[in-house]
């Protein structure tokens, strides 16, 4: 079997393209979780973003309106979650699950009129440089703006959390809301903002799927990517840089089976299809070997409601 050098670049590029929605959603959820809120509604927010983006693109014809509209839709649906969990102090897990079910249902309802309509072409950047450098150029050039944003996001998130005052506040709220509150931080406001930000990123991740990755709308098109994004946050032990690695592994696993088939590697297809799940188990085992590390890096008040009793 001969593997062309450029071929490696091409595979890497398509793996990266499939990792984009995972990175966006995970980085959004990471900020939410760092503030102590566990939002299991990622899948629901993503699918709402997917249909909103596609519908706005079809109706208005403007890609910019569609992308920002999808983010806004993510913000709006996460506002419901924020209101319920922060103002009405409902249980995070139950509310998040409800959000996912709600999102899948309502997106299917809105989407009824948008099935089978061709999407619009999304502009790609640096197309002319696509054939300049072997291996690297398919990775570096010829992608949408969302792609570049997604790969910058983990670093931005890391910088935000570790080097900025706001990042410190978010972490403080997630680790000890009582102390933060005593320092005069408005815990509820910070958590609201973090939830809305998470919603915006999930909305963008959904829009990437329906507008750029496979430009069309189909019911349930997120196909469980929201759940993988949630798992990635745990895998990464709440470290944005590790999300990047995890997303590449998961993105790769969904793609690599087709490439192996095309190359002619004779592995039973059923095994290749099962591979992502097998790897999930392996990664979980490896991570949970060091339970102290997990405990140290988990936001201490994750999933716990905060009451300000004064």
């Amino acid at each position: 079997m001969i593997i062309d050098i450029n071929f490696v670049g091409l595979i890497l590029a398509s793996i990266m393209a499939s990792a984009v929605p995972l990175i966006l959603a995970s980085c959004g959820e990471l900020i939410t979780e760092r503030s102590g809120v566990l939002n299991l509604g990622v899948e629901g927010m993503m699918i709402i973003g997917a249909i909103s983006g596609f519908a706005l693109m079809t109706v208005t014809g403007s890609l910019i309106i569609a992308v920002f509209g999808a983010m806004l839709a993510g913000v709006l649906i996460s506002t419901i979650f924020a209101f319920l969990t922060q103002t009405l102090i409902t249980n995070h897990v139950a509310t998040g699950l409800a959000l996912t079910i709600f999102g899948i249902g309502i997106s299917a309802m809105i989407g009824k009129n948008f099935v089978g309509i061709p999407g619009k072409e999304f502009p790609i950047l640096f197309e002319s440089l696509k054939d300049t450098i072997p291996i690297l150029s398919p990775i570096l050039f010829g992608h949408s703006i969302v792609f570049y944003f997604a790969f910058a996001l983990p670093f931005i998130t890391n910088y935000f959390l570790k080097k900025t005052k706001l990042g410190l506040i978010v972490r403080a709220v997630g680790d000890s809301p009582v102390s933060a509150s005593n320092q005069g931080i408005n815990v509820r406001l910070v958590r609201y903002m973090c939830i809305l930000y998470g919603g915006a990123m999930c909305g963008l991740a959904g829009a990437y799927l329906s507008m750029i990755y496979t430009p069309q709308w189909i019911e349930n098109m997120t196909g469980g990517r929201g759940w993988i994004a949630l798992a990635l946050v745990v895998f990464s032990t709440w470290n944005p840089i590790k999300i990047l690695i995890g997303a590449m592994i998961f993105g790769g696993l969904t793609i690599i089976q087709f490439h192996m088939q095309a190359v002619g590697v004779r592995i039973p297809v059923q095994f290749l299809t099962a591979l992502p799940y097998i790897v999930t188990i392996i990664v979980l085992v490896v991570i949970s070997r060091d339970s102290r590390k997990i405990r140290l890096s988990t936001p201490s008040s994750l999933g716990k409601s905060f009451y300000k009793d004064n």
């Binding site: 089978g116 990755y213 189909i218 087709f258 004779r266």
Partner: protein
């Protein structure tokens, strides 16, 4: 009190009776069960075009879309049979067993199962189209238009229907270009744009510059459009989804058959049969040819189309060898329908193994 109850009971029975009898005598109701959404612009979309033809012919129709090939199918069928439908079209291979099972429970309802082979009860007919004839034309075009000599093919499930298509496509492509290789990627789905797109990308990365598909969504032609290569529409004319990439489409034209069968029920002439129609009977239609195709190729394709329709050319004409070089069809012979219906081996020139 008692009297009133009996009276209302009897009158409602009479009402029910007249309603049902009236419905049967007055007009025939047809139902359609679809695997995908009617907006898939592929398989299900074309069946729905056929359904609309039945409506236009003056019959009442209903449809249920997105029915999984599982116990759900049985429930849907039973419900349709119970609610006064006289003929039910089940339009996916996986509905084969549910169709036969429910047909046994409702001997007065006619069942028509697409692409299957089981007719266990006298009220079950089967029908299919000779899509492989269309794929002979696609293969001819692909073999001529390819520059890399690598042709990609996104397949769905390893069943005879799909294998037959791959073989027919490859044989035709080899005829015009002996150097071509057909690379197959199995997506293990009929309709999942995300997966289909990834399969197509993998083939493009492998150097394929023409891609054929045996899955139903428009994702593959859209990917081909983006990559600047050629593709073919599946089941319906997919030209508007990828005007540069789509060279032509093989359309499934079910309307005439559907109208025919529903009329047969209305006239009381319906009887069990097994229909397998091709280009000649108009069940398989080739869409308009793209202007990017050279003029001599266009005329060649048109002639091939006419010859396939008249029966002068058969998609599987010997000598045909399998991958190991064993003779499948002898020189001058053509494969019979029995062989076609059970075809589970690749011909020479197809790369890889059939997954089991």
């Amino acid at each position: 009190m008692h009297k009133i109850f009996i009276r209302s009971f009897v009158s409602s029975l009479v009402l029910l009776f007249t309603l049902t009898v009236g419905a049967v005598a007055k007009d025939v109701k047809a139902a359609f069960v679809y695997i995908g959404p009617t907006g898939d612009h592929g398989w299900t979309y074309q069946h729905d075009v056929g359904r609309k033809a039945v409506e236009d012919a003056g019959f009442k129709t209903t449809y249920v879309e997105g029915v999984p090939e599982s116990a759900d199918a049985e429930r849907v069928l039973r419900q349709l049979a119970n609610s006064g439908h006289d003929i039910i079209f089940t339009t996916s291979f996986g509905y084969m067993n549910p169709t036969n099972k429910v047909a046994k429970e409702f001997p007065n309802v006619k069942f028509e199962h697409a692409t299957g082979y089981k007719r266990e009860h006298s009220n079950v007919s089967t029908y299919a189209a000779r899509f492989y004839e269309g794929r002979t034309i696609l293969g001819t075009i692909a073999g001529t238009m390819t520059k890399s000599n690598v042709i990609g093919y996104v397949a769905s499930f390893p069943i005879p229907e799909v294998i037959r298509g791959i073989n027919s496509f490859t044989l035709a492509a080899q005829k015009v270009n002996p150097n071509i290789k057909t690379k197959i990627v199995w997506a293990f789905t009929w309709y999942d744009p995300g997966k289909e797109a990834e399969a197509a990308k993998a083939l493009i990365d492998q150097g394929a510059d023409v891609i054929a598909q045996h899955t139903d969504s428009t994702a593959i032609v859209q990917i081909a459009e983006k990559a600047g290569i050629y593709a073919f529409g599946q089941a319906s004319d997919m030209d508007k989804f990828a005007p540069k990439a789509v060279l032509t489409s093989v359309e499934n034209n079910w309307g005439p058959y559907y109208v025919d069968r529903v009329k047969a029920v209305a006239n009381g002439t319906w009887s069990q049969k097994d229909t397998w129609h091709g280009i000649g009977d108009g069940m398989v239609v080739i869409s308009g040819l793209d202007s990017q195709m050279p003029a001599d190729l266009q005329s060649k394709v048109k002639k091939l189309q006419a010859d396939l329709a008249s029966g002068k050319v058969h998609s599987f004409t010997g000598p045909i060898y399998d991958q190991k070089g064993n003779l499948m069809v002898a020189e001058g012979k053509t494969a019979d329908d029995g062989m076609l219906a059970g075809m589970m081996t690749y011909v020479k020139g197809v790369e890889g193994d059939i997954p089991n």
